[in-house]
């Protein structure tokens, strides 16, 4: 049990620190530090451009997607080096949120299932942020029940022809590529008739329509496919094996989101440290202290849980379903933290935006939090995963498991 850097780790850290010190876009540091959680906007710059520029700079110097192999645009680093990097990158790491789906989910899926020449073509520009990817899984009829999706892929010569609709696709409006899960055979049970592809989002027949979210922002979209053609060599995995391929994506999704998710605790602690209540400093208040202590141990518990996972990874163990814990705990915690911070503000907590306390930081957090508990698998699905795959409890009863997809009832009653 050792928290200190080994000599090699220390060397890596000082290398990273020096490079970041010399190259990071310092002019945005303060804003990035403060605008975290629910709202990363820059007042006088386009965040997407700033993010892309920083990512490119990192890639050119060999600091992008650290744990990816070099030939695919990474650095071949150990999991621990990746952690050290993110510690050193600090608030600038916020900028990579734009790329989290590509780097965390699409990239690993491509690495596991794409042809070698495609990996060499598509992965380096994904690593460098020049190309952005999205994940086209969810549909109106298939969210938690991903395998309930209806978007059809039909073989036509050397191509597949896609028709259907995706929904909640984050970043589709600025994405260059996407991984797409489709139904290729509706006559077999739902998990058996799926096939995965990747495609160019600029292909004819792809239409992206932004959706306005509950938070007021528009980060996700509906995506419509009308006779979109995808060449067969862009298929990922075998025909009918899309469910297995998507499990790779989802497993990576959980560890990518789980590791990146914020709890809101440092912000709340900092806030309470300076806040004055009617009866004196908030931090001196018994009730406030008790709340803070309870969240403090959740936040530290998550931090050290991910360190344990990284220690296991660096010994060659595979990331397991226990990664579901990060998002499950942090999602509702951030919601509770934001609610509490506003409660401390009394009636004025209702004011949001620039006129609000701390420029509306906790209000933004509150409005983003419900999405965190849904995206990448809802709290309930996360609990199912822990119960079934970690604790070995029976799977939910699936009445549609052995029914051909086209015989599954589509309405209640």
């Amino acid at each position: 049990m050792n928290f200190d850097d080994t000599p090699q780790e220390a060397e890596f850290r000082s290398l990273a620190r020096a490079w970041i010190g010399a190259n990071a876009p310092k002019q945005y540091e303060d804003e990035l530090r403060k605008s975290s959680l629910g709202r990363t906007v820059l007042r006088n710059a386009n965040i997407l451009e700033v993010a892309k520029a920083w990512q490119k700079k990192k890639a050119d110097a060999g600091w992008a997607c650290l744990h990816w192999p070099k030939e695919y645009g990474g650095r071949g680093s150990s999991p621990i080096e990746r952690v050290i990097w993110s510690q050193e990158e600090g608030p600038f790491g916020q900028l990579s949120r734009m790329f989290i789906i590509g780097h965390g989910m699409c990239g690993p899926t491509m690495m596991a299932f794409a042809r070698e020449e495609h990996k060499r073509t598509y992965l380096p520009p994904l690593a460098s942020g020049e190309k952005i990817w999205c994940q086209l899984f969810s549909e109106p009829a298939g969210g938690s029940d991903v395998a309930g999706l209806r978007t059809r892929a039909e073989k036509d010569g050397g191509d597949w022809v896609i028709n259907g609709q995706k929904i909640w696709t984050s970043g589709a409006h600025y994405s260059d590529y996407g991984i797409l899960l489709t139904r290729t055979d509706p006559t077999v049970p739902k998990h058996k008739g799926l096939t995965m592809f990747f495609l160019d989002m600029k292909s004819p027949g792809v239409e992206v329509r932004p959706i306005k979210q509950a938070s007021g922002a528009s980060d996700f979209n509906e995506v419509y496919f009308t006779n979109v053609r995808i060449p067969d060599h862009q298929r990922l995995g075998e025909v009918g094996d899309g469910w297995n391929v998507s499990l790779t994506t989802l497993m990576n999704e959980r560890s990518a989101i789980g590791a990146a998710v914020s709890t809101g605790f440092p912000e709340l602690f900092e806030y309470c440290s300076s806040l004055m209540l009617d009866d004196g400093p908030a931090i001196e208040d018994r009730a406030v202290r008790s709340k803070l202590a309870n969240w403090a141990v959740k936040a530290s518990g998550l931090k050290y849980t991910s360190m344990r996972a990284i220690s296991a990874l660096s010994k060659g163990e595979r990331p397991g379903p226990e990664n579901s814990i990060g998002k499950l705990v942090a999602g509702s915690m951030i919601q509770d933290v934001a609610t509490y911070a506003l409660d401390l503000q009394g009636a004025s907590g209702v004011v949001s935006g620039e006129d609000a306390e701390l420029a509306g930081r906790f209000q933004a957090m509150l409005l983003r939090a419900p999405g965190t508990r849904v995206e990448g698998g809802t709290d309930e699905i996360m609990r199912n995963i822990i119960a079934e795959r970690v604790l070995g409890l029976p799977g939910d009863i699936r009445v549609d498991k052995d029914v051909p997809f086209n015989k599954i009832p589509t309405k209640g009653r």
Binding site: M1, G301, L302, Y304, S314, E380, R383, A387, V390
Partner: protein, 375 residues
């Protein structure tokens, strides 16, 4: 960085688990629970023979000299087995106080006796209601003689010696408190057993009447030593609590797989699955916080005070949460004396109070975080 126990430490854990599975079955625990013995003497002897009592005691004082990470590993197994022995009072409290503040002669006298299982020790701190605080220490020490009452004292009725917190000044500051070492068999003490939430680990009231005592550590250093002792014990107890959390989670899981209702395993009902998933979550957070505490303890890091408080809170909550929901998963069976669920429920709730209540540790944690942020 390596945030895990070493292979040797894991081997020690397996060894302890195997030993306890054999020597500390629920049936054996029940002998103490039912009041037929004050503690499991055979088990205590066995623990000494295995070298577990002195695992963190240096070799020159009769221990194995392995270290605190090894002790954490054993503590986890003690909690998992719900061992009915005075392990925490002797090993985490008394031995640690001696290691921190004892003179060479004091260490030579007591530490080898602890390691060999001959001496049971404890800490006499509390005097009725109230959390650890200098102002709550009223027992007076004058001219090497103690007068006053301590209660509750963990394992006080079976202990051979106690580390006693006493008042030696009246300035109203921490420096008013000093520690003393008392041979409880030497006279001047009256001991009364108290019934308590967890009969597998006794509690007592000890009355000191002109009782001779030797100072432990320098006069006026009592509170600062105590704080260190409590922090170290907080980490070690956290491992016991983690062991207990894991065991109760396992019990609940196994029962959920076994019990059929409405024609299905109850573990297939989502409400039950989710309850167990939440138990896993709290046990996992507690384990991770405790690992951090173990690292801080074993390296005597500046982070220890904060890490200890976090481990304490997290592990206390987890054990209470898992123990109570284990009963819920078991339904009516869980509420019978015959099933083992209540033994862990008792232990979880008793342990939640032993080193000061949750609210005390919450306070400590926030104070320590503030101090760190100010630094």
């Amino acid at each position: 960085m390596n945030f895990d126990f070493s292979d040797d430490q894991k081997q020690l854990r397996d060894q302890a688990r195997k030993f306890l599975a054999e020597k500390c079955s629920p049936k054996a625990v029940r002998v103490v629970l039912d009041g037929k013995a004050p503690y499991d003497k055979e088990l205590w002897k066995g623990l000494a023979e295995m070298g577990f009592l002195g695992v963190a005691i240096p070799e020159e004082f009769g221990g194995a000299g392995a270290g605190h990470l090894e002790l954490c590993v054993i503590a986890e197994e003690m909690g998992r087995a719900n061992a009915p022995v005075p392990f925490s009072s002797t090993v985490y409290l008394a031995a640690e106080a001696l290691l921190i503040a004892g003179s060479d002669a004091q260490k030579k006298k007591w530490l080898p006796a602890i390691a060999s299982g001959e001496a049971i020790g404890t800490l006499a701190l509390f005097e009725g209601k109230g959390n650890p605080a200098p102002k709550n220490v009223k027992l007076a020490a004058a001219n090497g003689v103690l007068n006053g009452v301590k209660k509750p004292v963990a394992d006080g009725a079976i202990a051979d010696f106690a580390v006693v917190a006493a008042r030696t000044g009246s300035s109203g500051r921490d420096g008013d408190i000093s520690l003393f070492l008392v041979d409880l068999k030497a006279g001047g003490v009256e001991v009364k057993s108290l019934t308590n939430l967890d009969p597998t680990r006794g509690q007592a009231e000890i009355t000191f009447k002109d009782c001779k005592a030797e100072p432990l550590g320098a006069a006026g250093d009592g509170w600062s030593i105590l704080t260190q002792v409590l922090d170290r014990a907080a980490v070690l107890c956290a491992f016991e609590q983690v062991g207990g959390s894991d065991r109760t989670l396992e019990m609940g899981r196994d029962y959920a797989l076994d019990r059929i209702a409405f024609g299905r395993q109850i573990g297939s009902f989502q409400a039950v699955k989710h309850m167990l998933a939440d138990m896993y979550v709290s046990a996992t957070l507690a384990r991770s916080n405790s690992y951090y505490g173990a690292w801080a303890l074993s390296t005597n890091a500046a982070e220890l005070p904060e890490a200890a408080a976090a481990a304490r809170i997290s592990a206390t909550q987890a054990f209470q949460h898992c123990a109570k929901n284990n009963i819920q998963v078991h339904g009516g069976m869980g509420f019978t004396w015959e099933f083992d669920c209540h033994m862990y429920y008792r232990r979880a709730n008793a342990m939640a109070l032993g080193l000061g209540s949750l609210s005390y540790w919450e306070d400590q944690l926030i104070d320590r975080m503030r101090k760190k942020n100010a630094a």
